[in-house]
């Protein structure tokens, strides 16, 4: 049993949550971008993560003996949402009918994702602190009192 694997697990969690946060920031930054007629506007993205070794466990069908190994980011999925059409005939990106295609970013769901990512990030930091406290305490084994 080594502590480094525990640190690695939490580090993978930190990385996944940071990426989730970056995805939210990118979505919000692009919330008001438009697209020229005929092209698709910015599509909001979501981070899809899975536990490492999940495919392997599925083959074993719930058999015990799976060593915890952390989380991996599988992909950055574009959310299948239709563009938000705003009637604005004077806009340079307006189409023949006067509609402008805006990126369809939902601020509400973005904020919720952001909040849960930040909380999960904090929890990962706590888990690192716990592993550190245990490793430090283990150094005291055999100390003369």
């Amino acid at each position: 049993m080594d502590y480094f694997s525990s640190f690695e697990i939490s580090a993978s969690g930190l990385m996944a949550e940071r990426l989730r946060l970056e995805a939210v920031a990118t979505n919000l930054a692009n919330a008001n971008t438009t697209a020229a007629p005929g092209s698709a506007p910015y599509q909001p993205v979501r981070v899809v993560s899975r536990p490492i070794g999940a495919e392997f466990t599925r083959h074993l069908d719930g058999a015990a003996g799976q060593l915890p190994a952390g989380v991996q980011v599988m992909s950055l999925e574009k959310m299948p949402v239709a563009p938000r059409l705003v009637y604005d005939p004077k806009h340079p990106d307006a189409d023949a009918n006067g509609f402008v295609a805006h990126a369809n970013v939902d601020p509400l769901s973005e904020m919720v994702t952001m909040m849960s990512a930040v909380r999960a990030y904090e929890a990962n930091i706590k888990a690192i602190g716990a592993a550190k406290a245990m490793a430090q305490k283990a150094l005291e084994i055999g100390d003369r009192k």
């Binding site: 697990i9 989380v71 909380r119 999960a120 888990a127 716990a130």
Partner: protein, 129 residues
Amino acid sequence: MIEEMSGVTSALVKTALDGLAMQQRVIANNIANANSSGYTAQGMEFEAALRAAAQRHGDEPAADVKARLRQLSAAIDNGELVHATDNIGVKLDIEMALLNQTVLKYQALVQAMGQFGSLRAMAISGEIK
């Protein structure tokens, strides 16, 4: 020689420390996967197995108990006691409570082992400090 002096206590504490360290790892993994969709939380209990392994049957020599504890230690390190729970998703509050509990248990065990060590030191030196 020192092993003989300590009976099964050293092996018992070592196995318990191994179990707690693995438990921490399981909790860390659950937390790392807090936002993974469709993730089922993992769990791990080693206390019952530890109690069973540490039980002395009749006139069984201490070496047998130690061998059982060593076996359990290896099983823990291989993740054989880690199992999937029925909970889909991760309850962060419960994981944090378990995490703190695990660290405290670990620290208490190390503390106890230190005191046991000073008993041994006393036996070796023959004087009370």
